[in-house]
């Protein structure tokens, strides 16, 4: 019961902050900040999808960018080839979701044969295959140069798009929250904890891994499509390892295995990215902001291996424990 209470508290805070964020564009007009928030929401969806694999099922994937890229390219190509209308936006989303569902199904099947870092290496290679494919298939993708495209007027309005991504993020958050609290989600955690034991309880772990992989792939594809819309431009970088590393960094800094952690991680990373690049005027080193992320990453792994949320929960548990002890001391004393 205590666990559910803690979960509720997190969700309530999340909901309150989301409500504040809905009002935000109405009271404070700052185009830059609006764009940053939109980025945060998109990457929060992406990081949450990655957390299903890393945090809940215990699958380490270095190729999550491939689903992100599939979504981004589906959207961009549709917008470029057809009219920039809402109908095609939905069609592009469906195509992207469909394609990444198929790819993630195949990739998920491979977890049968490969475990841990071997699987990670394989996904890395597969994502790179997509990267090279996008580079070479110039007639469709225009390679590393990429292409710009027009989007429906409704989405051109920054506030509209901001609200859409925000609502989507909130929906994904609560859907995943329910998902991990469900009997299915509990089995995923069991697989992460002890695969062999889960199997001997009579759960067929391959199905679980494949379904988790498909859900993560679909969500990543949606995030990719939104990302493409936000930039109105696409190039091969959506398939690059950097995208996967972003998701990895966000989930680890926020707290692996907590949905809210992925959202917080996305916020921290995007904001610090923005802040660090704005410091370029002070010193040229800030142009290489990625160095700081490297340091941040090392520090997190060393001192907060469970991320921000994990560290907070541990602190709270400790406080409660001490309180309990005090009480029992009083009772005996």
């Amino acid at each position: 019961m205590r666990v559910s209470y803690e979960n509720k508290l997190g969700s309530i805070i999340f909901l309150m902050v989301s409500c504040l964020l809905i009002v935000f564009p109405l009271v404070y007009e700052d185009r830059n900040l609006l764009i940053i928030f939109t980025q945060i929401f998109i990457f929060a969806i992406f990081a949450m999808s990655y957390d299903i694999l890393l945090g809940f099922t215990g699958i380490i994937s270095f190729g999550h960018a491939m689903f992100f890229g599939i979504g981004a390219y589906s959207m961009s190509i549709f917008m470029k080839r057809f009219e920039p209308e809402m109908l095609y936006v939905f069609l592009a989303l469906i195509v992207g979701v469909f394609l990444s569902a198929i790819v993630s199904y195949v990739v998920g099947l491979l977890t049968l044969r490969l475990k841990t870092h071997y699987y990670a290496m394989l996904t890395l290679a597969l994502a790179n295959l997509f990267y090279v494919g996008a580079e070479k298939w110039r007639s469709l993708t225009e390679g590393a140069d990429g292409f710009t495209f027009r989007i429906p007027d409704f989405l051109r309005e920054r506030v509209n798009f901001y609200l859409i991504t925000l609502v989507l993020m909130v929906l994904v958050y609560f859907a995943l929250k329910l998902f991990i609290q469900s009997p299915f989600g509990k089995v995923l955690v069991a697989i992460k904890e002890n695969e062999q034991r889960t199997e001997s309880l009579g759960f067929n772990i391959l199905y679980y891994k494949i379904i988790a992989s498909i859900i993560a792939g679909i969500l990543a594809s949606i995030a990719g499509a939104l990302y493409a819309i936000s930039l109105r431009f696409v190039n091969t970088s959506v398939f690059s390892i950097d995208i996967t590393l972003d998701a990895l960094l966000m989930t680890i800094i926020g707290g692996v295995g907590t949905i809210i952690g992925a959202v917080i991680g996305s916020g921290v990373i995007e904001f610090s990215h923005y802040w660090l690049t704005s410091l370029v005027k002070l010193h040229w080193i800030f142009e290489r902001w990625i160095i700081f992320f490297g340091i941040l990453y090392i520090l997190t792994v060393m001192f907060f291996p469970k991320g921000i949320v994990g560290a907070l929960t541990a602190l709270k548990r400790k406080a409660r424990h001490e309180k309990k002890h005090d009480q029992s001391d009083k009772m005996t004393g």
Partner: protein, 255 residues
């Protein structure tokens, strides 16, 4: 009368080494059978064959008259064979209750429900709590499994097995690595299960004195072969068994 589990010429070899060799036995329902034998006799390997962790190189296994030699671990569990492990094998970062609840969920055959919270399955937690009571793990509901003492982990292992509610229980050294004081508690749990007379139990154990009173039947495994099979009293009186434990037979078998 059909037996609940039966093996015919069951064997497995790793290279030239025959870890389990031509083992034949049949166990009746609700019987309590113990398997004893020195280290390396192939007891755990035999269990791995029965529960499907290893595939037999020759011979067949029948469960309730059905040939299950080719069935996977998952299928065997669903048919009604549950096993515990010699090395503690639980979900370390989940609470005690959650560990058992997962087993209950498996028993209730709720596999792919993903749109409903587990908190809406109140009966699952209730069953899990009752089982924790049977296995003497009261008040340890929200302790993470990794923080339990070794003895409690072994009890949890048993609790998860009970939650599966299988007809056949394969218990692999439930008291392995436990301090002497903790052993009786485990046997108290096993005795309770036995008294319910609803389960067939197959137990691996080193400690002879513990199993003598409990077992209806004892099988002695030595160098992968079934050396003796009978009531506890017969086994004690059996000379080959005694020399096997003293090491006298060792040369004869390996030479």
């Amino acid at each position: 009368m059909t037996s609940i589990i039966e093996t015919k010429n069951l064997g497995i070899s790793f290279g030239n080494h025959k870890a389990v060799d031509q083992v034949n036995f049949a166990i009746d329902e609700h019987q309590f059978t113990s398997i004893i034998g020195p280290n390396g006799a192939g007891k755990t390997t035999l269990f791995n064959l029965l529960s499907g962790q290893l595939k037999a190189t020759n011979g067949d296994i029948f469960f309730c008259g059905k040939n299950i030699t080719k069935c996977s671990t998952v299928e065997r569990t669903r048919l009604g064979m549950g096993r515990s492990f010699q090395l503690t094998n639980v979900f370390p970062n989940l609470t005690t209750l959650e560990n058992v609840r997962l087993a209950v969920q498996a028993q209730k055959k709720i596999y792919f429900q993903m749109l409903k919270s587990v908190f809406s399955y109140k009966d699952h937690s209730e069953i899990a709590k009752t089982i924790l009571k049977t296995t003497l793990l009261v008040n340890k509901d929200d302790v993470l499994a990794k923080n339990l003492s070794h003895g409690d982990k072994r009890k949890l292992e048993l609790a998860m097995l009970l939650a599966l509610d299988t007809k056949l229980l394969l218990l692999d050294e439930p008291t392995a690595g436990m301090s002497v004081e903790d052993v009786p508690a485990i046997y108290e749990v096993i005795e309770r299960i036995k008294e319910e007379k609803t389960k067939t139990i197959l137990l691996i154990e080193h400690k002879m004195d513990m199993i003598m009173n409990l077992s209806d039947r004892i099988m002695v495994l030595f160098n992968g072969k079934l050396l003796a099979d009978g009531a506890p009293k017969e086994i004690i009186a059996n000379e080959t068994v005694q020399s096997a434990y003293l090491g006298g037979l060792y040369d004869e078998y390996t030479a």
